[in-house]
Structure formats: C-alpha cells, structure tokens
C-alpha cells in the first residue's frame, strides 16, 4: 500500500512538489536568516568583545565612573600582580592587560619641522609573548603592509592613518602624549606595519604597539587602563561572567583607584543588545513556524478536499480510518523530512557564500557610534542551522495534517461518499 500511495504522491504535484517547494523555501530562508543574524549580530558582538569590552573587564572604579575614561591617572597599577590573581582565581578565562590612550602623532621632515600630524587612539597590547592578543585584534589578517612589531620602538598604524600622515614603512614618527601625572611625553617610534580592521571607528586613527614598550614610553611601568578577560572555551558565558564580577568585587575595596570588575553586558548597552539578539532569534523562529504552518495548513486543507474522493473510496474499499489517517501523517512526515533536508541544504549555500565573502555594509550603515560593525558583514554557519529547519519544516505540516486529517476521522463514511456524488 505504501508503494501505491507513494506513486500517487509523486504523480500529484499539488501534493508533492508544491508543499515540498514551500517547505524547502521556508526552511532555506530560515536557515539563511539564522546564519546571517548569527554572523552579523554575534559578529559585531564578538568584535565588540575583542576590541573593547572583553567578556569581563577590570578597570579602576574611577575610570568606570567616568565612563571608561582612558586618562592615565585613572589607570590600574600593579597590573602583573592583578593579572596573576585573576588567573589563579578564574582559571577558565585568559586575562590580558591593555593600555588605551590618546595623543598626537607627529611626522617630522628633514629639518625636524612638522610635516604632518594627527590625533591618535593608542593601544598597548601584549604582542610579543601572546598570540591571543594578535588574534583578538585580527592583526595578522588585517596586515596590509609590512610586519608586526617584534621589538621595542616598533608600532603599527592603521592604513588610513598612515596614508593621512603620508608615513611609509620604516619611517619614524613622534608620539606626543601625557604621563599619569600630567607631564608631557615625547617618544619616537618606527612604523613597521599597516593594518586595516574593516571597522570604521578603529580604522580612522589607531596606533598599536607592545604593552611594555608603551608603558615605558608613557612613564607607567606597571600600569594599564584595563585588563580584559576572555573565556577560554565557547565564548561568552553570561551567568559565569556575572558570578565572577560579583565574586571579585566583593573582595576588593571601594576606593577610586581600586580595581573593579565589569562584564561585557555592562558596557555600551550590550545588555539590551544581547537580550535583543536572543529575542529576535526566537521571534524569527516563531514567525517562520507560524508562516510555514499557515501556508502548509492551507495546502493541507485544500489537499484534504481534493483528496476526498480518494479517502472516500479507500474507506468504501474497506481500509480502516486509522490506516488512512496514518498514511496521511506518514505522507506529511516524508514531505517534511525531504523538504527540510532540501531547504537546509539550499539555505546553507547562500549562507556559506555570505560567510566566506560577506556583504558590504558601508553604504547601508552610516553614522554608527561605538559599535564595532565590520564594513564587510559575514554570515556565520552554526550547528543549529542544521536542525532549526525541522521545527517549521516537519512539525508544521505534521501538525496541519494531524488536525485537518481529523475530518476524515470524524465524518462518517457514508457522508464522505455522499459528498463525492456532488463533486
């Protein structure tokens, strides 16, 4: 009998091809959407974490109170000690001190006069002994010219900044800034590489150098503006981050220069952003289940009517109602499975393209504030792409059939046949 029904299914495009198309298309869209959102939203979030907020971050109470001021008089001191303390207390995270500072970069001509000058945003990172910071800032991938700093006195500039200053590789430039006590700092650096982050707020005017090197230049031996912490595995764990924050803050004094732990969620309104991502994800899923359910429901109802003749006849020929109902469900199941499988595959193709190539958003996104949105937004294929389609793709038609098929069950056979006479 299954063979017999399969023949009918394959021959009737209204029953096989159309629902299959609807399911595949819906599932494909869902998968693509999900991968896209994952890439775009979590991508932005991950940039935000890497470049700015960490999963958790340590800074002084004063700096936090002044909206993460990077003025050096509010910097952390005894950074090595703090870092060791953190690493022992919270071994599930890696911690990296960073020095963020502002200043001017001055390029002299042959006579020592200013040839060009620009304000800069400086980053002192642990470049020499830690691969992780290089990875966090995507420095290797972002390197457009030259190489990464390998010794003292060497810096990277963003490509835009170097071009603006007309500074070429190997040339020297002078950093003019302040030390923690307000004294003037003048220090010469050699440009060894140029990077492009593909993120507007960073590309404009960033200077990157080694932490120790910049600490020395800025006259703050053991100081850093912050220590960022990242979970070693699986990215941000919000509850654990909160736990660490509470634990740390309970055990440290409340003075202006004492360290305070904050989490990613505390910064840049990321808490709402995170909640939004999660609620968007569930709404999108609900929307797709609803939409597919609705379409398939209607398809199912129409199919039900179109197939009254078959149902009535099969009843008259002595098939049990239960069997007929089961065969309807089986059909929905097969269609749902095949459709979901097809749809997932179809959806993954453009998702893969968007993951590898990305979409240029520079024209779409103007005036963004602090958000580290990449110029090229990529989708990200995640494991749940593989099964998310089954919710709408399988359950919707199955449920639709389950309910519309009840009609066959409830009606008495003579009634169904009587209706046939009038078709």
């Amino acid at each position: 009998m299954i063979r017999f029904l399969l023949k009918g299914l394959l021959r009737d495009r209204h029953r096989s091809l159309f629902p299959l198309l609807v399911i595949s298309l819906g599932v494909a869209l869902l998968v693509l959407f999900q991968a896209w959102l994952q890439g775009a939203l979590y991508g932005t979030l991950s940039n935000q974490a890497h470049f700015r907020t960490g999963h958790v971050k340590l800074l002084t109470r004063g700096a936090w109170a002044e909206n993460q001021s990077s003025s050096l008089d509010l910097a952390l001191s005894q950074v090595e000690t703090l870092k060791n303390e953190l690493a022992t207390s919270y071994p599930d995270l890696n911690f990296f001190p960073r020095l963020r500072f502002g200043g001017l970069l001055d390029v002299p001509d042959a006579k020592g006069e200013t040839r060009s000058q620009s304000p800069i945003l400086g980053f002192g990172l642990e470049l020499f002994n830690h691969k992780q910071e290089i990875q966090a800032f995507h420095l290797q991938e972002g390197l457009a010219q030259g190489r990464l700093p390998q010794g003292p006195g060497e810096i990277l500039l963003t490509l835009d900044l170097a071009e603006k200053l007309q500074l070429t590789l190997g040339e020297k430039a002078t950093l003019i800034s302040n030390d923690p006590n307000g004294g003037m700092v003048i220090h010469n650096f050699t440009l060894v590489g140029m990077v492009r982050f593909g993120i507007k707020p960073l590309d404009r005017a960033s200077l990157i150098g080694d932490l120790k090197d910049l600490q020395r230049a800025l006259g703050m031996r053991k100081g850093a503006t912050e220590i960022v912490g990242f979970f070693k595995e699986k990215g941000l764990n919000r509850p654990r981050a909160l736990e660490i924050k509470r634990h740390f803050n309970q055990n440290h004094p409340l003075s202006e220069l004492s360290p305070q732990m904050i989490t990613l969620s505390d910064q840049d309104g990321l808490d709402t952003y995170l909640d939004q991502i999660e609620s968007w994800m569930s709404w999108i899923l609900i929307f797709f289940i609803g939409l597919l359910g609705f379409i398939l429901w209607n398809l199912g109802l129409i199919n039900g009517l179109r197939r009254y003749r078959e149902m009535g006849l099969r009843l008259a020929l002595g098939e049990e109602k239960k069997q007929i109902y089961q065969s309807l469900l089986l059909e929905a199941l097969v269609l749902g499975l095949v459709g979901t499988f097809l749809g997932t595959s179809i959806g993954l193709l453009p998702a893969y393209y968007l993951q590898e190539v990305g979409l240029d958003t520079t024209k779409i996104l103007t005036g963004n504030q602090n958000f580290m949105i990449q110029n090229q937004v990529h989708a990200k294929i995640i494991f749940s792409n593989l099964w998310v389609g089954f919710f709408p793709g399988l359950f919707a038609p199955f449920l639709g059939t389950l309910i519309s098929g009840l009609g066959v069950f409830r009606k008495n056979t003579a009634q169904i046949l009587n209706q046939l006479e009038s078709i």
Binding site: R11, A414, L420
Partner: protein, 237 residues
C-alpha cells in the same frame, strides 16, 4: 436454485435530524437478499435507496434494527471489523465511478487486491482477468481522464468484481451514461451474475436497468411497497 440468505435487514430505521426534528429516511424496513440474486431497489428520488445501500454496505449504521451479512450482525461489529467486512465481502459501484485520477486503469483495479495484501503475481493475474471480462485490456495503462464515461464505469465494475466479493452494491450505475453504454454495461453485469454467480443489488430509477433486473424492490418514503421476483423462465433473455 438454492435459497441461501446472504443479506438480511430486520426492522431497520434510519433517522436524520432535519431542522430540529427526526426525519425517517427508512422506517421499519425488512427484507432478505439471497446469494446469486440480481435485484434492484427502485423508487422515486428521496425514497431512501442510497440510504439503504449504505447501511447494507456497512458504510453507515441504522438507528434501529439489524443488518446481517453472512450471518454476522454488521451493526454489532467494531468499525475496524466493518472495514474488514467491506474489504473482504462487499464491493460498490458508484454513479460517478470514483476512479482515482492519478492511477492507471490497471492500478485502479488492483487497489482492492493491494488492500487484501495479495502477492503481486496473483494481483496481476486477477486484474487481467477482470479487465478481460470488461474488454478493457487495451486500456490497462490509460488514465481515467482518457476514458469515456462507459469505459470509466467498466473500470469501476472491474474494480468491484476483481476481489470476488459476496455482494456488489451499485448505486445508479448508469445514471451518467448514454443508452448504448448503459445496455452494454448491464449485459456485462448480468453475465458476471450468471457466469460467476456474483450477487448484485442496484439502486435505480432508470428503466433500462429495471428491464434487466430479476427482482424489483420498490421503495417509497423509506418503506418497501412492492417486492417482485420475476419467474424463472423470464430471467434468461
């Protein structure tokens, strides 16, 4: 001929609720159909012919009284047992043929045998036999949409006889056919009745059908008003 009761209705009522009150489509109706009969329910539209056929075919249950097929009270059987009875013993022929449009003539005729779980080889043999009876061998692979009304009804008849049922119930089988096709079909049905011993019960108000019947049961307002069996010699013509 041996008088062996095949189908018996005893004091049957069938009630439909219409506009708040009970409408008796059949009222205290009793009759017996013997094996090998070629009988017809005749009567005006609305007299209850289809209603009675549905009860006899276990497609519906009476509000009162009993229907017995092969000594079993149908209304006492579970829905699944009733389905089994239909599957094994009862065939229907409908006014509108009710062929499945997606399936070939062969497959349409094969369906009852698939439901009986016969082996493919046995099915093929029986389907061919039935198609030959109805002179449909050359149409075996055709789809219902490619058939004339007469041909479509022949397929329905082949489907009805292929499982050698105890009884074939035919509700106005010629209503949609022209005179020539009707006569052709009726002759074949009589032939099947006489040569294969199949029992037939028709519902009709078509004079052409009535002319072929060996027994005429007249219904009016849900009750039998005449029951006339033709004497033996007249049966062969």
């Amino acid at each position: 001929m041996r008088q062996e009761p095949l189908l018996q209705a005893k004091e049957v009522d069938k009630i439909y609720p219409v506009g708040g009150h009970d409408f008796y489509a059949l009222k205290n109706l009793s009759f017996t159909l013997n094996r090998g009969e070629f009988a017809g329910l005749i009567g005006p539209s609305g007299s209850g012919k289809t209603t009675l056929l549905n009860l006899l075919g276990a497609l519906d249950t009476p509000n009162r009284g009993t229907i017995e097929l092969l000594g079993e009270k149908l209304s006492h059987l579970s829905a699944n047992k009733q389905a089994l009875f239909r599957r094994l013993h009862i065939s229907f022929i409908f006014q509108t043929y009710n062929l499945l449009p997606l399936y070939s003539v062969f497959e349409n005729v094969e369906l009852p045998l698939i439901l009986l779980k016969l082996e493919p080889k046995e099915r093929k043999k029986r389907v061919h036999e039935a198609l030959e009876w109805l002179s449909l061998m050359d149409k075996a692979q055709a789809k219902p949409s490619q058939l004339s009304g007469g041909q479509a009804q022949r397929v329905a008849i082949a489907r009805a006889m292929v499982k050698n049922p105890e009884i074939i119930l035919a509700d106005e089988p010629t209503a949609n056919l022209d005179s020539e096709a009707s006569h052709g079909i009726l002759k074949t049905l009589r032939q099947i009745n006489e040569e294969k011993g199949a029992t037939f019960l028709f519902s009709t108000h078509d004079d052409k059908v009535i002319g072929y019947l060996k027994r005429k049961i007249t219904l009016t307002d849900g009750q039998i008003v005449h029951d006339l069996s033709l004497p033996e010699p007249l049966k062969k013509r």
